[in-house]
Symmetry: C2
Subunit: 328 residues, 2 copies
């Protein structure tokens, strides 16, 4: 049976979850942005890991070594930030080729360490091996006070669903590249999409911690708004309704949609790698959050489980389509 026939990437992960960790220190195992383990001082140790594969997550023709190194760090930091945590220590495994140059690696490290410094992270170890393509894996630890941690599982009926920044830019950039449109000398109106794809920023640690003080549930946008909201609903036992016209898109993403002849809202719903934050919050807490952080948009509401997960598109409620799946 292929993994596609099984139901794809998440079906495979669920299969692995048949072996739950029966350890009382484990607060979250498989199934959140990070694992969370209770430590002796009452804080939680957070651990996340992300693998980037050449020609899937990055492409050496479009990107630069420094951008690849930086994206590896930012994508992992985003998982820690989405728990309300503070990143600490990183471990890099990589498979590079026998033709890889020292100049490539110096560029890669420069990007990686620049992002690490930005977030206060130290690289403490790793493994270097070789293969036929570039593979970079980063494992990142972090900490969070147990009371300050924000999981996927805390959404409550009546919560508002919010997203930070704008969505879909990274996917728009990828689709422009795939269409053969180059970053250099391009139409300035779509330029930001290339940057969103090649140089995504995680939300800062401070932003994540601020939101975590008010939010009931949080997740970062790795795979698109639709699968992320689905994860929150599945873990929280709720439904949700997303108002598509409320989903924030940048002008560049809209312009890219016109050039590509594609609906830019699909980039936001089913694309990914935006590394923005999706969170749910009691409507009564909204003003208090807004007093400290304003770069977010209300895009929907948490419903009862029986209502399912729906999106209002062209005035009609419809279920989400599937998000990106590595094996679909």
């Amino acid at each position: 049976m292929t993994i596609k026939e099984l139901g794809g990437e998440f079906a495979l992960i669920r299969r692995m979850m048949k072996h739950p960790a029966s350890d009382p220190a484990v607060v979250k195992g498989i199934g959140d942005d990070c694992a969370a383990i209770r430590q002796a001082d009452g804080t939680l140790l957070l651990v996340t890991t992300d693998m980037m594969v050449e020609n899937d997550h990055f492409n050496t023709a479009w990107s630069t070594p420094a951008r690849i190194g930086r994206k590896l760090v930012e994508s992992n930091v985003s998982d820690i930030v989405a728990m309300g945590g503070v990143p600490k220590y990183a471990f890099l495994s990589m498979s590079i080729t026998r033709e890889t140059t020292v100049e490539f690696m110096d560029g890669f490290y420069a990007g990686l360490f620049a992002a690490a410094v930005r977030h206060g992270i130290f690289l403490l170890g790793g493994d270097t091996t070789h293969g036929t393509e570039y593979i970079f894996n980063l494992t990142l630890t972090g900490t969070v006070d147990e009371g300050g941690a924000c999981f996927r599982s805390g959404a409550r009926q009546g919560d508002l669903v919010c997203v930070t920044g704008t969505l879909g830019g990274s996917t728009a950039g990828l689709k422009l590249f795939l269409r053969g449109i180059k970053e250099s000398g391009t139409d300035p109106s779509i330029r930001q999409c290339f940057l969103d794809h090649l140089e995504p920023w995680s939300r800062t640690v401070g932003e994540g911690r601020t939101i975590a003080r008010f939010a009931h549930a949080m997740i970062d946008v790795s795979d698109g708004l639709a699968p992320e909201v689905t994860h929150i609903c599945e873990e929280s036992g709720t439904g949700a309704l997303i108002e598509l016209p409320s989903v924030p898109l940048s002008d560049a993403t809209r312009a890219a949609g016109v050039i590509l002849g594609l609906d830019p809202y699909d980039f936001a719903l089913y694309g990914g790698e935006d590394f923005e934050l999706v969170f749910t919050i009691d409507p009564l807490s909204l003003d208090a959050l807004r007093a400290e952080f304003t770069d977010f948009t209300v895009v929907g509401e948490i419903l009862h489980d029986r209502e399912g997960i729906q999106v209002v598109k062209d005035g009609i409620r419809q279920p989400f389509a599937r998000g990106y799946d590595h094996f679909a």
Copy 2:
């Protein structure tokens, strides 16, 4: 410049070490089997990560999915055991192909979880992606009391150099496979070499902790005795002398050497993946260790730094050749 021209894998790692972690909690960063971080309760958090690449670390024609999953766990556990630590939590990243079957993954998980149960490890998370070849990366955490930790850097002049079990079997098995000799129906005298390659066992947590109580320095054999002794000497600021005839080889490894027409001591010195332990110990502590653990052999002595690192072969002292290097 190629990485080979730079000086290979370890030259690349030294280049990365130009960015040391200036964090007071970090007891060991890059440059030991695991990173070691001081925790609030006075214990050390250990973290190691190992990447296995298809056709380099394993081959689906020779091995089975279960054996691949198991080897991934055992190779990481060995790093924790070599610090005198107790493994705890694992995080699996993998790149598999669109053609990967559910049956393959079920076999892989079966081997992985069997090894995890053996060592008391819980799998708490990971990342699943796809590429053109199989890549498996495991990050493993563990703990050790600060006083009970054994690093590479503790060797002292006059210490004896010891190794557990026998060395070279894994490399003998690999070379038999590469020569086209099959595991099934093979000469029973060399059968163990195939098992050493496909199903290596880490030393147990209890064995590692026992040795760590007496040893000054310890490392596991990932890359061969010669590079491991070199790591100990470099980190400890010492030299060493290894008596080649004392290096323990199994009968199967000797038999494989005859069949292959190769010197089996080279498998032990420059092969790798034996996952045995190399440690240095004060001669006065030897009997005390022997009262609790006996499966080890004295193979040499720690010398003053100016004596260099040498091996006595055919009655002549000579410097080590280089060990395995991914970029040599």
